[in-house]
Symmetry: C2
Subunit: 118 residues, 2 copies
DNA sequence: CAGGATCCGGTTAGATACTG
DNA sequence: CAGTATCTAACCGGATCCTG
């Protein structure tokens, strides 16, 4: 019983830590949306991405992509074209976020609808 | 075919917007963790909450709770005790975040483990 | 106990312009 | 095309102390 209680709170503590870790990696106004765009479309060039993530400034997009790349969620590939083009895509690690991303998308859509009703 | 394509990109656009909306509501370093703590434990008093969300300063916790309350994700109840105590709990709207919260917790735990292997 | 008051430094993100 | 440079205002979040 006592043991049980400790285990429960221990697993809870771990979950909260996990939530925090995840939130840190997806911090800021744009990262989750960027991952979402890449998730739904596969590969994207910088310009296409900036068109799909509406409103993000190039400087900000560039910085967020670097962060995501550093954390191995996004892979950046420079293509040897003229002029050069760059492709961004999710790594397998990044793709493993799909449950979160899908849930966020669906929840956000429902939330917006529930606001309109009022 | 053309119709199909438009519908696809339309639903994608909506999903990205949903992701953004969700991320806005859970923005900042602590909100998701706070929701997680409330999710795993039900009700919490201010002090208990601050103990479970390790590291958060009272001022910050207070502000985040207000934000969450404003967006109808958290309900605040003042109990008529001496001295007064306050209980926080998720609203049904807040509880509906459970898929996101659970997924974030699980993903974060796995991510942390994958880091330790290296 | 549940916060508010104050102070503060760092980060964030936007606008605009520019480069290889 | 794929970013960088510069500037700036706003905000975030931490520390510390205080109050009903």
């Amino acid at each position: 019983m006592e043991k049980r209680k400790i285990e429960l709170s221990e697993s809870c503590r771990k979950s909260i830590q996990g939530i925090k870790d995840t939130q840190d990696l997806l911090s800021g106004k744009w990262k989750a949306a960027i991952v979402g765009a890449l998730f739904y479309n596969g590969k994207f060039r910088f310009m296409d991405l900036s068109r799909h993530v509406v409103g993000v400034a190039p400087k900000v997009l560039s910085k967020e992509l670097k962060d995501l790349e550093m954390n191995h969620l996004v892979k950046r590939t420079v293509l040897d074209t003229m002029p050069i083009t760059v492709e961004y895509e999710l790594t397998s690690q990044g793709k493993s976020l799909h449950r979160i991303i899908e849930a966020m998308g669906e929840w956000g859509i429902k939330y917006r609808k529930s606001l309109l009703k009022k």
